[in-house]
Structure formats: C-alpha cells, structure tokens
C-alpha cells in the first residue's frame, strides 16, 4: 500500500469517524436505531455545495450543513416522540424524503466543487502535498468533535441522555424530559453526520445525490469494530473507539483494494472487506476462548 493510499484511507476514516460518532449517539447512547443518516450525509454535502457555489463562505456553509442535519434528526425524533411512529419507520420516512429534498436543494443530481473555494482551499497554499494536509485538517476537526462530545456526555444533560437510552421509564421517573432529550440527541447525531457529508463533499470536490448509499452500514460497522478493538465501558473510551473503528474499516478497504495481487477480482471488493472485518471481530473472542480452555483448571 502506498503512502498516498494509506493517507487517503485515514482521511476517509476520519470523515466517516464523524458518522460513527453520530451513529454511536443514536444507536448506543439513545438506543434509537436511526437510518436518517443515509439521508443526512448527502444533505450535508448538498447544503455546503449549494452554499459554496452561491458564494457563501465555506465555514458558514459547513455550519449551515450541520444545522440542516440537526433539523433532519429533529424531524425523525418528533415523528417518533410526538406522533408515536416506530423509531425505525420514522427514520426511514425522513431518509426517503431527504432524497427528494436533497435534489431540491441542489436543483440537480450533482454539484461539482472542484474549482470552488472550500475549507480545503487554504491548504493548497502550504508547501506540503494536499494528500498529507487534508488528513491533518480533518484530524483537527475530528479531535474537536471527540472532545466536545466526551464533555457533553459527561455533563448533566449528557448523563440524562445516557439514562434515557438505558431505561426511559426510570429516567422519566427521575424527572428527565425523555422526549426533549431524544430530540436533542437525534439533532446532535445527525448534525455530526451532515458535518461528515459536508467535509466529504469539500475534500472530494463534489456533492452527489447518491452519496448516502451505505452510510449507516459503514457507521454501524465502525461503532462495533471500535467496541471490539477498544473494549471498555467509560465514555471517553467508547467515543474514541468510534473513530478508531472507522479508521480500521477504511484501512481494511484499502487492503481489500490491494487484493488483486492474490488473483482476486475487482468485483470481489465488498466480499473481501466483509471477510476481513469479520475475521477482525471474531479473532479476539476466539483467542479469549482458546486462552480460557488452555488455562489451568483450579
């Protein structure tokens, strides 16, 4: 694997690390299976692309993208909390609606940003190559998000959110506004995913309406890989684990892309990725079992 390919994997791993953080908030903290992300990822890309091409500052555009994502999450949460639609269905409704909304926002299926000023443009002035500076910028963004999220989850509201996910009845009995907390969590989660979408569009130079394909799968895989690679129940470990899991997933895809050396075909890519991730998840458990069996009986 070349350095550029590895740095490219890290770059995408960092972007999808933000998706993993969002998915962690909904699936793990709130216990809310949320498929909105397949729509809010391209939503973030669509908003920032439209903003930047109409002359808005990329920083402001990225913030607008996050706000749009938060709104999408809020819609899902309200559909569930207020109108009692099953969480999974509520998120599916928002997700499919977002496809049309994204087309509306962009006015066409694809917007190119290759020549527009983006968050990545100032990096071109540095003497280092772009493939090295882009991951650095993204790492800084992810670091800020990780620190803020940890701080938030350890705060009083964060504690209330974790309690809501763990046991909503008990949480309600303790005086927590469960509905409001769910709305807040879902808005935060999808704002993070939309931020990832906005950064993806700016790093790759385009927003496309199909960008959301498989976002939830990648995010969920990253969260679960993270839990396996970095076991531990504390908040900081779990949050950092999401990013680690995402980076791990991307490196695996990069390895799978090298598999043609073994005589495998390009069309085998998804299978190889699945097998590699599967092996990585199974290995620690099998090793522990093996160790337990080999350990002397007391």
């Amino acid at each position: 694997m070349s350095t550029v390919a590895l740095l490219g994997a890290i770059e995408l791993g960092l972007i999808y690390g933000l998706v993993a953080l969002g998915v962690f908030l909904s699936f793990r903290v709130l216990d809310f299976p949320d498929l909105t992300v397949d729509g809010s990822f391209p939503l973030g890309a669509a908003v920032v692309a439209t903003a930047v091409t109409s002359g808005i500052d990329p920083w402001l555009g990225t913030l607008l993208a996050m706000a749009a994502g938060a709104l999408a999450g809020l819609v899902t949460a309200v559909l569930n909390v207020r109108f009692k639609i099953l969480h999974l269905l509520a998120s599916i409704l928002t997700m499919i609606a977002l496809y049309s909304i994204n087309l509306r926002i962009m006015g066409r299926p694809n917007i190119a940003l290759l020549t527009e000023p983006t968050l990545m443009t100032p990096l071109e002035r540095l003497s280092l190559p772009l493939y090295a500076t882009r991951p650095l910028l993204l790492a800084a963004v992810v670091l800020v998000c990780v620190l803020l999220l940890i701080r938030f989850l350890l705060s009083e509201i964060g504690l209330a959110m974790r309690a809501t996910g763990a046991n909503p009845r008990m949480a309600e009995a303790q005086g927590i506004a469960v509905g409001g907390i769910t709305c807040l969590g879902m808005a935060l989660s999808n704002a993070l995913v939309a931020l990832a979408g906005a950064l993806f569009a700016q790093a790759n130079g385009f927003a496309d309406v199909t960008l959301g394909t498989g976002t939830i799968v990648v995010g969920l895989a990253a969260v679960i890989i993270g839990e396996t690679v970095l076991p531990g129940r504390s908040v900081p470990v779990a949050v950092v684990g999401c990013v680690v899991g995402s980076l791990f997933y991307r490196v695996v895809v990069a390895l799978a892309l090298e598999a043609d050396i073994l005589g495998l075909q390009a069309s085998d890519l998804n299978l190889i990725t699945a097998v590699l991730v599967g092996v990585a998840l199974v290995l620690p458990a099998t090793r522990a079992k093996l160790m337990a069996r080999l350990a002397p009986v007391r």
Binding site: A5, N110, L113, N204
Partner: protein, 324 residues
C-alpha cells in the same frame, strides 16, 4: 545493514540507472488505472473498449502494459478511496468511467494524466473549463448524444421539416442538458423547436397530442420517462402522418423512423486511443475533449411508410440495422 535496506538501496540504484539510460528502457511497462462507480453493462463495455484500443496500439496486458481496474461497487466513499489509491500508485494514466468517479479522481490529483469517459457534461461536472483547450492534466470523452448529427439525419430524410417537436421530463437532469443542446443545434440549422413536458410516462400521450398541429416532426430524446412510453408517440405519429425520430437505436424497432446511436464499446475504444496518445507523450491538456465519434444508423422503413415518409436510398445504404 539488513537485507531489506540493501534491496531498497539496490532498487534505488537500479531506478537511477534506468533514469540515466533514458526513456527507451524506463518506458518498458506502462500502467493504466481504470475505475468505474459500479458494475453496469455500459460501463463494463467501455472498460473493455479501452483495453481493446490499447492492444491495437501495441500496449498489451502482461507484456508492456499493467492494466489496473477497480469498481467502487456503487459506493461513493469507495470511489474516493480508489481515487487516492490510484494516485498513490502513480500510474501513467488514470481513466475514470462515469461522472462521480471522474470527479473523485480529478479532485485527488493535479499532475497525473486523467482521461475521463462516459461523462455526459464535463463542464458542469467541473472536470474541464474549456472542452476545446482543457489545459492541465485532464481530457476525455463525453457520451452526450450527438444531437446536431441527429438533426442532420432528420433533415436528410424529411427536408421539409421547419418546426421540430420534442417531449421530455423536466425532472430529469440529463434531459435538461439534451433539450438545451437541441435548441442550440436547431437554431443553427434554422429549425424551430416546440417543447412538450411529460413529468410521468402517463403524460406522454397527451404531450404528443399537444404537438400534432404545430410541428412537422417529433424528436424523442434519450429521456427515460419519455422513451418508456414511446409507443404512445408512435401511435400519434401514425395517425397524423407525423414522422417520429429517436435519439437511441433501441427505439427504432419500437416504431421510430430512424436513429443514430452509439455503443459503449466504441466509446471505450475512442477513449483508449486518447490514452494511447497520452502514453506516447502528448499532454492531456492539449487534447480537446471529444464527443461521440462512431455512430450506428438504424432505420425502420415500415414505420416511415406508415408516417408518410420514404427513407432515401442513400440513408438506407448507410444503415447498420434495417428493421423489417
């Protein structure tokens, strides 16, 4: 010194020697990296066409050509990752097939030559700013319908046409591009265009009816919504002796008089010839972006007769497919 370091040094030494020996030795094996967004008959045919053209030019896989192919399997994030992998391998040419793959590759490199293909509108996709003089490291082939040549065909078969009607779905981005181009090309030939919108396949019949009194021929662009309901237009054409032309050859057996189409294997071959020029030292920025070169003519004399038209012998002689 351990063996790894020693081999690395040896490799370095050989490379510098090769560098000194000049291009004759260093240019032995060339690398062409091809990527597509998804497995799809048209995109796969393009890839095979590229390979065939390279072989014709003397670049054969396993001998003096390394041909890398990756598919993103429909996943845009994988497309971005493939783009970076290719840049890291520093091939002689990268060939992205389809718009999203092309944007990912062009976003990832400013120096490796890129020859895109099967991209409908490279200017809107910001791959190039000026298709005539692309500049930089990017050129390629667009698969935009050659509408100017379609109109020439219409005028050759039915020279009396003054106003041409067209039906399209305003919600299809691709159709908007086609209709824009149609109006431009028609104007330069002194033709008037009358448009009828059909947002759903069920609206096509009504749209065709609305054109009947005011146009001399109907041109059906490659619009998915409209082509689905082609039979409705053909019916109106037959009832009113109004010739119906299409933008794709598959519509000809279904009742259109004639169409100039293209296949993606030929698009791939055309792309492969540009790749060859780049491999032979031309700068991509100096090669203009090309439109479809090779077209296939399909005609349907039976349908023509039913619409009151006789296809000239010269056109019949050129036809690759004649529908009986």
């Amino acid at each position: 010194m351990d063996w790894r370091r020693r081999t690395a040094l040896a490799a370095l030494f050989t490379t510098s020697l090769l560098g000194l020996a000049g291009p004759s030795l260093a240019a032995e094996t060339r690398t062409v990296a091809v990527t597509a967004i998804v497995e799809h008959p048209a995109l796969d045919a393009t890839r095979d066409g590229i390979k065939a053209a390279l072989k014709d030019a003397g670049f054969e896989e396993g001998k003096n050509l390394r041909f890398i192919y990756e598919s993103a399997q429909g996943n845009p994030s994988t497309a971005a990752q493939i783009a970076r992998k290719f840049v890291g391998e520093n091939p002689d040419v990268i060939v992205p097939i389809s718009t999203p793959s092309a944007q990912a590759v062009v976003g990832a490199t400013k120096d490796i030559p890129v020859v895109f293909t099967a991209v409908t509108d490279p200017v809107a996709a910001k791959l190039v700013t000026n298709p005539e003089k692309p500049g930089g490291n990017v050129t390629g082939v667009t698969d935009l319908s050659p509408i100017g040549r379609h109109l020439d065909l219409v005028l050759e078969i039915t020279p009396k046409v003054k106003t041409i009607g067209t039906i399209y779905n305003p919600g299809e981005a691709n159709s908007l591009v086609l209709i824009d181009l149609l109006e431009k090309e028609a104007a330069s030939r002194g033709l008037a265009v009358k448009k009828a919108a059909a947002p759903k396949s069920a609206d096509v019949l009504q749209a065709a009816q609305s054109l009947v009194k005011s146009v001399d021929a109907i041109y059906v662009p490659t619009d998915n919504t409209v082509v689905t309901a082609l039979e409705a237009i053909v019916k109106i054409g037959r009832q009113n002796k109004l010739p119906v032309y299409a933008g794709d050859t598959d519509s000809v057996p279904r009742g259109a008089i004639a169409a100039l189409g293209f296949n993606y294997f030929d698009v791939g071959r055309q792309t492969g010839r540009i790749v060859t020029r780049v491999l032979n030292g031309e700068k991509p920025g100096a090669i203009p972006v090309q439109g479809i070169e090779i077209t296939e003519l399909a005609v349907n004399p039976g349908a023509a007769e039913a619409m009151g038209v006789k296809i000239p012998d010269a056109v019949m002689a050129r036809a690759k497919t004649v529908v009986k």
